[in-house]
């Protein structure tokens, strides 16, 4: 039932707002609204009940194993939430003068510093509001850098075919054309193809390492040299930073600019789709182009160290601003708190145990007859199972496996990404899952395999235990129903 169906004309939750105000007479009528908007009119109890019950229809990390590859669905420590929501933080106006902001700014400054440290970059801007916006900032900086050097003929961005869709989409938004670079069966980039593609038209290369195939790009130093020698810059898509956190650093691999999805690696919640943060780090030569604002340390006359915002005056070459204020501040606070909880030692453990969990699951699944996409290498923090044999022999798809997993109490892994592996499941357990959960998931896949062999149709109709079974997506796209209205329903 929709919230609108609990509505009754004239029903109000009066306690929530003022009452009895008259329409203002100092605003011309033609600027006033004529009819009240069709919002629901419900009691607080109805709203609480509706949205509480609705929430129970979600799988979430707090209720289920959620091994969604590339998304790093790890535990979100509850204290990060409660401390980021301290009244002092919630009520701070984004434009409050510096003297009312030193507590918040200290957190942001230290977050910048810590992110520089774990990524090996020279500067960090926290403003991008998700990975994709971080990518935009990065690619825009690459463009600004070349432009500043008068190097205006570099019109191409190279992107491996394993890349996430945001990479090419971003390059386009920044006015570049995209050239795809193929990947070898080993999971490494086809360096020969790269050599052929790179040239004076190359603005840069966008790379995820470990890649979305769940392996480390072994030729990274050679690749960096190739691109740099051609005058291009290297962009690091930090979606998989969790795999190497505290072990190796993109800056040391030769990357010039990176984004970090704080909602992945630094455990801010995914919120049913966001908010995230795509904080962006740069090597020394790109520092002048960083998006604003950035927090700087300063010396106040009287009270010792303090912090201030860098503005366009300080950074005339900045690519500019990406949001009205400074991005998803509350997300940044959560990431900051998480990093302070973990500390240096905890960071290293993240990379190690995320990797251990993935390799353990891969070993177990291989032992139970599943086919790994890249079978003879260690996985990073995630790995791919391909069900192409099952698709061919039993006519059950990765989608069928995914849906059936829901019945068994597991969120499905990422399916059909990366695009180059047919019928794939991209499985990312994260470091926060216990061995028994991994074992349970392996058993669930084994059970589904047996079900597929016994009765493939049974899988085609899964899931059975969810509030709905398979939904008609074609109808959704054809008979568009995107908003409820009193007349229609």
């Amino acid at each position: 039932m929709l919230i609108f169906e609990h509505s009754a004309k004239g029903r109000q939750t009066k306690i929530q707002a003022a009452t009895g105000n008259k329409m203002p007479t100092d605003i011309p009528v033609e600027l006033l609204r004529e009819e009240a908007p069709g919002l629901p009119e419900v009691s607080e109890m109805q709203a609480v009940r509706h949205y509480t019950s609705l929430s129970q229809k979600n799988f979430s990390i707090d209720t289920h194993f959620y091994p969604l590859g590339s998304c790093t669905m790890k535990h979100n420590p509850r204290v990060c939430n409660s401390l980021a929501m301290l009244p002092g933080f919630l009520s701070r106006h984004p434009l409050a003068p510096d003297q009312n902001s030193q507590g918040f700014m200290a957190c942001m400054y230290e977050l910048q510093e810590m992110l520089c440290d774990v990524t090996g970059m020279a500067g960090f801007s926290l403003t991008p509001m998700a990975g994709a916006q971080g990518e935009f900032a990065g690619v825009a900086m690459i463009r600004a850098y070349h432009d500043a050097n008068g190097d205006t003929e570099r019109k191409e961005i190279l992107v491996p075919d394993a890349a996430h869709g945001t990479n090419p989409a971003t390059a386009t938004m920044c006015g570049f054309t995209v050239k795809e670079i193929p990947t070898l069966p080993s999971g490494d980039v086809d360096v020969d193809a790269l050599k052929a593609a790179v040239g004076p038209q190359t603005a840069g290369l966008m790379l995820t390492n470990p890649s979305t195939l769940g392996v480390f790009e072994r030729q990274i130093e050679e690749i960096a040299k190739l691109v740099h020698d051609a005058g291009g810059l290297l962009y690091y898509d930090g979606a998989n930073l969790n795999a190497i956190l505290g072990k190796i650093r993109p800056g040391d691999m030769g990357f010039d600019v990176i984004h970090s999805n704080l909602h992945k690696t630094f455990s801010t919640p995914h919120g049913g789709g966001g908010p995230g943060s795509g904080a962006i780090g740069v090597a020394e030569r790109l520092k002048p182009f960083m998006p604003l604002p950035v927090v700087a340390k300063t010396e106040f006359e009287k009270e010792g160290d303090g912090y201030r915002w860098l503005t366009e005056k300080d950074c005339p070459q900045s690519i500019g601003r990406m949001s009205a204020f400074m991005g998803n501040a509350g997300v940044l606070l959560r990431a900051y708190i998480y990093m302070r909880l973990l500390g240096a030692e905890g960071m290293r453990r993240v990379g190690e145990f995320a990797t251990l969990n993935a390799n353990y699951m891969m070993a177990q699944l291989k032992a139970r007859g599943f086919e790994a996409a890249i079978p003879d290498r260690y996985a990073s923090h995630e790995f791919i199972i391909t069900l192409k044999k099952q698709a061919k022999e039993l006519n059950v798809s990765a989608m069928d496996f995914a849906k059936r997993l829901l019945d068994l109490g597991y969120h499905a892994p990422t399916t059909y990404f990366p695009l180059l592996i047919p019928e794939c499941l991209l499985i990312e357990p994260t470091e926060s899952e216990a061995k028994e959960m991994l074992d349970g998931f392996v058993e669930a896949l084994v059970q589904i395999q047996q079900e597929a062999e016994a009765d493939p149709d049974m899988l085609h109709n899964a899931p059975y235990t969810m509030p709905v079974n398979r939904l008609d997506e074609v109808r959704a796209a054809k008979q568009l129903d995107l908003a409820w209205s009193a007349e229609k329903d």
Partner: protein, 457 residues
């Protein structure tokens, strides 16, 4: 080990299943000179107790000022139920509903959100959110360029009375695609965008005009006339609106004869705390005919195999994981959780609660104008119909006054002659932009007036 549940025994067992001796073996493929020994700027981990102490001190440092600042972020009352429910693990720790059957909570809520935004703006459809109000304007400009088939110019009229940081952000994002943003002046007396300034463009090939209601100065624009003029000239209308104000003011879908084409804005006033600027969310609504050019996720209602109602992400062909370099936008992770809060917020207030809140803001602002302009050295700059924000000229440098009051824990407003994000309004020297929401009751206003009078002495 913080957030790592492995016991020593389990680690051993897992390593033996993999067939290696130590976790380090898993990193054997990585050139050893790349491996780091430790971190320099990350201090040792704290436990919860330690981090509590730290963060409580930090939050206390910033105090809790009485806020008369607006300029795009507003201090509204948020019913307690909103975030208590929003932070339930099932909303807070889920992700994009890729598995629809296991995500009906988020999906249905998003459908309800879209319905509410469509109702509030009187537009046909809404997406599931963009990052924030500023970037939503940029996306709207890109969308207008994609969809206004009658225009080839890629020229966009942007009034100076639009929040200047929205203009800056829009420029950052759209400039790579050869799109030109053209300034439109405001009237120095009324603070409105005068028809005369627009009519200079009549007949030119212009892709879209941006109209902000209320505008950055709190002044109400002649949105009906501007919309009619634009449509007569095949110019798309991008409305930038404060969603709370729409409970009171004419919604963009009803501007002029035909309504705006795209309506965007920042959802912050509908349930997001000010929290240093985010997370908020950008909303975007449009006419039905433009839906396939809309960026961002969209949820649709459909049925399952048994004919039961259900919800799915739809029109995904627009998105970057399908269309990659040809997508309508690169946005992927959006602002879902704030949308969740906002949906609950709107449900709790309902049409009447939102309207009452909007009127309270208006009344408090009018009272504030009365009290402040009674002070020697304070003048009203634009004496026009307004919504909850106003420009005042001070007899002393605005920055000094703002600092003086900040030391007394009063945020006196936004300095219109400052250099953030660039020298915004040199013509408005010593002017501040001040806002009173429903929370700034008479008692607060008296306090503000007294402090301001003292500071201006």
């Amino acid at each position: 080990m913080p957030f790592v549940p492995h016991t020593e025994d389990e680690i051993k067992e897992m390593l033996s299943v993999i067939g290696i001796d130590s976790i380090d073996n898993l990193f054997d493929e990585i050139p050893s000179h790349l491996k780091i020994q430790g971190l320099e700027k990350v201090p040792a981990g704290l436990n919860e107790m330690g981090v509590n102490r730290l963060m409580q001190n930090r939050a206390a440092e910033d105090g809790q000022a009485i806020c008369f600042m607006g300029a795009g972020a507003y201090d509204h009352h948020i019913p307690a139920a909103v975030w208590q429910i929003t932070t339930r693990g099932e909303y807070y720790t889920a992700y994009t509903p890729y598995q629809a059957e296991a995500s009906q909570g988020t999906l249905q809520l998003t459908y309800e959100y879209q319905s509410m935004m469509a109702a509030l703006t009187a537009m046909d459809v809404s997406n599931a959110s963009l990052y924030d109000g500023a970037s939503a304007v940029a996306e709207a400009v890109l969308m207008a360029v994609r969809s206004n088939r009658k225009s080839k110019s890629r020229k966009i009229l942007v009034p100076r009375s639009l929040n200047p940081v929205y203009t800056t952000v829009t420029n950052t994002i759209v400039k790579h695609q050869n799109i030109e943003l053209i300034d439109v002046a405001f009237d120095g007396v009324t603070g409105k965008t005068p028809m005369s300034a627009l009519e200079g463009f009549t007949g030119e090939d212009i892709t879209a005009v941006v109209i902000s209601q209320p505008n950055f100065f709190g002044t109400l624009e002649d949105v009906g006339k501007i919309t009619n003029w634009a449509h007569e000239n095949n110019i798309f209308v991008i409305a930038v609106v404060n969603p709370l104000s729409l409970a009171l003011l004419k919604p963009p879908g009803q501007w002029g004869e035909t309504g705006a084409d795209i309506a965007v804005g920042d959802g912050q006033p509908l349930g997001a705390p000010m929290s240093s600027g985010g997370p908020y969310y950008g909303f975007m609504c449009c006419k039905k005919t433009l839906v396939r050019q809309m960026p961002g996720r969209i949820v649709g209602r459909t049925v399952d195999q048994q004919g039961r109602e259900g919800f799915v992400l739809t029109l995904q062909a627009r998105e970057q994981h399908i269309r990659r370099s040809k997508a309508t936008s690169n946005i992927c992770t959006n602002q879902g959780l704030v949308v969740t809060a906002s949906t609950i917020h709107m449900s709790l207030l309902g049409p009447e609660g939102l309207k009452q809140t909007a009127i309270s803001c208006h009344q408090n602002t009018q009272l504030m104008v009365e009290k402040l302009t009674a002070i020697d050295g304070v003048d009203l700059v634009f004496d026009q119909p307004r919504f909850h924000e106003v420009v005042l000229r001070l007899s002393k440098p605005a920055a000094d006054i703002i600092n003086t009051l900040a030391d007394q824990n009063i945020l006196a407003g936004y300095d219109l002659s400052n250099d953030y994000p660039a020298q915004d309004y040199p013509e408005l020297e010593n002017c501040i932009l001040v806002c009173a929401t429903e929370l700034r009751v008479a008692e607060d206003i008296e306090l503000f007036a007294a402090a301001l009078a003292e500071a201006l002495k």
